[in-house]
């Protein structure tokens, strides 16, 4: 970057000229944004190129970052470059380390980027590309980015405190308790959903199962490499692991064709569910270095590489979107999941627009690495923009498929029928032509026996991604390899969330149980490890089993439940942020957090209400219970499904009740502070001058 005043004379541009050029460029960008948004919103009857989506996204993100985040940084937060951060004051070379801003940005992005922004948009594509895309863009700019940015900065000003601690200090004890319970609830539902996505992607797929099974010995090998052969050389170990995984994908092709070996790896959904439950328990109870850490490194390596490749592939191929902007399923009768655009499109997109889970990262490791306050803008707001861009790419990957193919892959057997001909006829009758022969040929080209009823979003995303990759590199001959690369990527990615999440949940349960009996809180005491691991695995395992066994439920029930839980956590985070903004005396700017908070309250409470009480059995848990009770002959299976529905209804109601409590407590506090009955004092650490500013000037 050129320092002001150092430019050679011929390069110097006068200040008024610079600002005029700046205004010209920004006006041009605004016009381009309007044009791109206009084209994706108003084009009817013709297919559009995916580049319009990318262009609209880039322009919206640029304008949002350039103007809105700058406004928040200057007016609402008054970021102070002179104020020392906890990374500087508490530098201990372990968790508190002042770190280069680009490194923190990448680290934060790697932590917040999970399977949510890949799967959510694929599921929401059943409404067409328009509703999902608009919510991804606007939700991120005005909601998700704002939440991540503010929580990060507030945590930095409180020595890196967690969201729960900030909720307890700034709102009250109830706030802290609700945040704690909401976090456990969301982790349980998230893990069940993640496991179900993996089951649906791998069932009856010997190639996929073989590849994923091979990642376990590969992880052991990586562990041995970085512990014993080349201590600490994790990047080398991960690169070696990546090559071995690619080799496993290649060998998997042979496995799937072998009459002898193939049956060993051809598993039903219930069998896979049991294996995943056992795996979750083992990963939580085993020493972390043995399996968890190497898999985590391998997964991160694959994740960053694949997201980069997808971005390059879309830019190089510039594919056409075959999905219309709006489909007939905006009326709520969609086969992928039931429910109208409002509120379900907004709940389904989840992490691509706003995610409560991000507030845990923003108040976790990241604030302990920030070296100067102004960098929170780039890290908090900027990394969420990158995450939102991943969601846009997932939407493109889903919408480049022919709509008939998309619905054939994503519709459950309970809606379209089990037989290929029946499914193709049902989907064609909806106005999305697809043939049983075409689907068979597609399944053959990706090395699968069938692609029908592969719900969960992951297989549809993998087919879309394979289509983009194979069109850019390798053609149809590499389609199967790319498809299984995508499946491996998603499954590996999701299983890492599953094993790490189970372990985090185990620690949280141990912390809570320590209040009851101290030895239960000891993380190295094996009876406690086994008991709490079993408790955590049982919690998500029962939801998973329900998803696997229920032909009409599964992802249809669980994904909206996950979306609701995730956004309820975002509601808690925005309550904390709004409370702090009001206490800071910035009441004029309360709308910055209050508007997304009110929107989320409207979305999540409406969605929760529908999921519990809607008369449509495909939406409402209680209506489904009544339908099961009246139509089917009483059996153990029906009784279990009724129990599951009631459990879902209770969990949803409990989450809604807890968040209503924290909302009520927050509103009461706001009224007291605004009316002067309570002092507007925030719990920030006192100002200390940074030494970095002085060092930079010398």
């Amino acid at each position: 970057m050129l320092r002001e005043g150092n430019e050679p004379n011929d390069m110097r541009i006068s200040r008024p000229m610079k600002s005029f050029l700046g205004i010209l460029v920004q006006a041009g960008l605004a016009i381009l944004t309007a044009l791109a948004l206009g084209i994706i919103a108003l084009h009817r009857g013709e297919q559009i190129n995916a580049m319009w989506l990318l262009l609209a996204a880039c322009c919206v993100y640029f304008l949002g970052y350039r103007f809105y985040s700058k406004f928040i940084a200057a007016k609402v937060l008054a970021l102070d470059a002179q104020r020392a951060t906890p990374a500087e004051r508490l530098d201990n070379g372990r968790d508190f380390v002042p770190t280069n801003k680009w490194v923190v940005f990448g680290h934060h992005f790697a932590a917040i980027a999970g399977p949510g922004p890949l799967v959510g948009p694929v599921l929401a594509a059943q409404f067409g590309y328009l509703p999902g895309t608009i919510w991804i863009l606007l939700g991120a700019i005005f909601g998700g980015c704002v939440q991540d940015f503010l929580i990060l900065l507030f945590s930095v000003r409180r020595d890196g405190k967690s969201l729960t601690e900030m909720a307890r200090e700034e709102i009250g004890k109830l706030g802290g308790f609700v945040a704690y319970v909401a976090i456990i609830g969301i982790i349980v539902i998230l893990l069940a959903v993640c496991a179900l996505i993996v089951v649906n992607a791998l069932k009856a797929s010997p190639w996929g199962v073989f590849t994923i099974a091979m990642t376990v010995p590969i992880a052991f090998l990586m562990g041995f490499y970085v512990r014993s052969l080349r201590p600490g050389k994790v990047l080398e170990g991960s690169a070696l692991g990546f090559v071995l995984v690619l080799l496993a994908i290649w060998v998997g092709q042979w496995v799937s064709r072998s009459a002898v070996v193939s049956p060993w790896f051809t598993w039903s959904a219930p069998a896979l569910a049991i294996v995943i439950i056992v795996y979750g328990f083992a990963a939580s109870a085993l020493p972390v270095w043995l399996l968890l850490a190497p898999r985590d490194y391998l997964s991160t390596f694959v994740k960053l590489g694949t997201i980069g490749m997808l971005a390059l592939g879309i830019t190089a191929l510039r594919p056409t979107l075959h999905m219309p902007p709006l489909t007939r399923f905006v009326d709520g009768s969609g086969p992928v999941f039931a429910g109208k655009i409002f509120p379900f499109a907004f709940v389904t997109i989840a992490c691509g627009a706003i995610s409560g889970f991000h507030s845990l990262i923003s108040s976790g490791t990241t604030p302990k690495m920030i070296r100067r306050e102004p960098e929170t803008r780039m890290v908090g707001y900027g990394a969420m923009i990158a995450e939102s861009m991943v969601a846009v790419m997932a939407m493109i990957a889903a919408c480049v498929l022919q709509p008939g193919t998309y619905f054939a892959i994503n519709s459950p057997a309970g809606i379209v029928g089990k037989a290929p001909e029946a499914a193709a006829a049902t989907i064609s009758n909806w106005g999305f032509p697809v043939s049983a022969q075409g689907m068979h040929a597609l399944a053959q080209s990706v090395g699968e026996q069938t692609l029908y009823n592969r719900t969960g979003g992951a297989p549809a995303f993998a087919v879309g991604m394979a289509h983009i990759f194979s069109s850019s590199l390798g053609g149809q001959t590499l389609m199967a390899i790319w498809y299984h690369f995508a499946i491996m990527f998603e499954a590996l990615f999701i299983l890492t969330v599953l094993d790490a999440g189970t372990r985090v949940g185990r620690f949280m349960i141990q912390d809570a149980l320590a209040h009851v009996w101290k030895p239960l809180g000891r993380t190295s005491w094996y009876p406690s490890i086994l008991a709490t691991s079993a408790l955590m695995v049982a919690a998500w395992g029962c939801f998973l089993w329900q998803g696997v066994k229920d032909p009409l439920g599964g992802i249809n029930s669980l994904w909206p439940l996950f979306g609701i839980a995730n956004q309820l956590l975002a509601t808690v985070a925005l309550c904390v942020a709004t409370t702090i903004v009001i206490k800071m005396g910035k009441r004029r700017f309360t709308a910055v957090t209050l508007v997304p908070l009110l929107w989320l309250v409207a979305v999540t409470f409406t969605a929760s209400w529908h999921k519990i009480y809607d008369p449509n059995p495909r939406i409402g848990f209680l209506a489904h219970t009544r339908q099961l009770g009246s139509s089917a002959a009483p059996s153990l299976e029906v009784a279990r499904m009724i129990l599951n529905d009631r459990l879902d209804a209770v969990v949803t109601a409990l989450l809604m009740f807890l968040v209503a409590l924290i909302l009520a407590e927050s509103v009461l506090l706001w009224v007291r502070v605004l009316s002067g009955r309570r002092p507007a004092a925030v719990k920030e650490v006192p100002f200390v001058m940074t030494r970095f500013a002085a060092e930079e000037q010398t």
Binding site: R94, T99, V103, A111, G116, G232, F301, V497, G501
Partner: protein
């Protein structure tokens, strides 16, 4: 005493101004846009390398060696993992 590997690793970080922050020097930046862009590449590469080393805990291992004034070995890495594992396993993985 640090061994050669550790020193080399810190050298990569050092060229960036460190994964750990050090005031960046802006001297020697080329005077025109073209040579400026070319001059940026080593710095971009250093940032990417540092980013990867931070994500994959190699920087954390270097800091551990530096803090404890020991050289890299199987025993040192085992001690580092023991110290870091609980911390790492408690980090939530995002959805």
């Amino acid at each position: 005493m640090k061994n050669e590997e550790t020193t080399a690793n810190q050298g990569t970080a050092g060229s960036l101004g460190g994964t750990r922050y050090e005031p960046a020097s802006r001297e020697g930046v080329a005077g025109n846009a073209c040579s400026h862009a070319v001059a940026c590449w080593p710095r971009v590469a250093a940032v990417v390398a540092s980013l990867l080393r931070e994500i994959f805990d190699e920087s954390a291992y270097c800091r551990f060696l530096e803090r404890n004034r020991i050289s890299s070995s199987t025993a040192a890495y085992a001690a580092f993992r023991e110290e870091n594992d609980r911390l790492k396993a408690q980090r939530p993985k995002c959805c």
